[in-house]
Assembly symmetry: C2
Homo-oligomer: 203 residues x 2
DNA sequence: TGTACATCAGTGAACGCGCGTTCACTGATGTAC
DNA sequence: TGTACATCAGTGAACGCGCGTTCACTGATGTAC
């Protein structure tokens, strides 16, 4: 039977979950092969039967984080038939993004911090996963600025995402004084409404 | 004479400059005490007569970077007597920021990436330096939204800075496909104009 | 059912590398008389 | 000007720590006959 293969899959799953916990608690630098081995109850070497190297592990954790983020954003209200509703939808997505980042601070950071070991490239599946996130922004934009070309909407979506991301990232940065949650939410909501008003005012 | 103290000051300067060059070329992880010693022609141990530890060195390099950034932003046109001029001033500052980030990619990243060794806090002088940067945003805002309270303008300035920073940061990120310079500039200009239009349209 | 054999997951000591920081020592610089 | 001494910058080998990855070996699992 493939009882042995099934066991390996189960262990791999455990490994990834342990890695996720470790990162969530201690950040990327708190991820140690030895500790993971200890935690899932296997030897140090056995890890390399489950995963090629630590980079792959980090990538897989990132993949899970993206999936959860996507699920969170999907929960926000979607259908927008008027410009006003589209604005509300964008505000809701932005606030959901901010809340997710706050609740998953370390895991969320890994999505942006991690750089691969000199060599090469982020695998395709990781890139395409990132793309799906944009859908939550693009859908309301169709309602908000129907006259834009798809190309322009994509760029606009990217800009809006980056802008909100920036506010969240600097707001949650511990280097300066941490911004209280309510304040941060107000900033984000203000920014999105400002942009939407600007778009409505003729763009 | 203090010829010996003067020499030490000169060496310290050389050390910081060498560190700056190393970071600019190879990033923060490319900064090695041994290489610096080699470069400025002193022994490894002597570095610790010039500087307490590597953290201080990174902070000092960051300080220089902030000073240069401030000088760059100051070069952008300033006086704004109308709302339209204020908008142009903000656009100019944002584009100057983007250009600086691109031209000083690694040094600029250090400003945000570097986290102190577990222990404690960023020294006061570093914090206050960061604050001076906001002045380039706040001045045009006085003209643009004179009816806002100073408190509100500060928050708005922070939000605008964070938003532009986010667009630049993600635009220059190498993880996804690099955004061509012209495209990035258009995104930034678009964002700032959008926000200004939104502010003018009643905020 | 039983025996011989092959496969491969599992093991953990050891490898290899990197690197900031310390410290006992040296020698030049500057001071005191 | 000259001598004795003190100070302290300068030295670099060694310390200490951390950690991902490898690899010769073992033993359990599963297969063939």
């Amino acid at each position: 039977m493939s009882t042995t293969a099934a066991r390996r899959d189960r262990q791999r799953e455990q490994l990834i979950e342990a890695a996720e916990r470790a990162i969530a608690e201690k950040g990327l630098t708190g991820l140690k092969a030895r500790e993971l081995a200890l935690e899932i109850g296997c030897s140090l070497g056995a890890i390399y039967n489950l995963v090629a190297d630590m980079d792959e592990l980090v990538l897989r954790v990132g993949s899970r984080t993206l999936a959860r983020l996507d699920a969170t954003l999907s929960a926000a209200p979607k259908p927008a038939s008027s410009q006003a509703e589209a604005t509300e939808a964008l505000v809701a997505v932005a606030l959901a993004y901010s809340a997710f980042a706050r609740d998953n601070l370390q895991l969320w950071r890994v999505l942006f911090e991690h750089r691969m070991a000199e060599g090469a490239v982020v695998p395709d599946w990781a890139v395409s996963e990132q793309m799906t996130m944009f859908r939550h922004i693009l859908e309301p934009l169709v309602t908000l600025v129907p006259e834009h070309s798809e190309e322009d909407r994509n760029l606009l979506g990217r800009t809006l995402f980056s802008a909100v991301h920036g506010v969240v990232a600097i707001g949650l940065e511990e280097k300066l004084i941490a911004v209280p949650r309510r304040e941060l939410d107000r900033q984000i909501e203000g920014l999105v409404r400002l942009a939407c008003r600007g778009l409505a005012a003729g763009g």
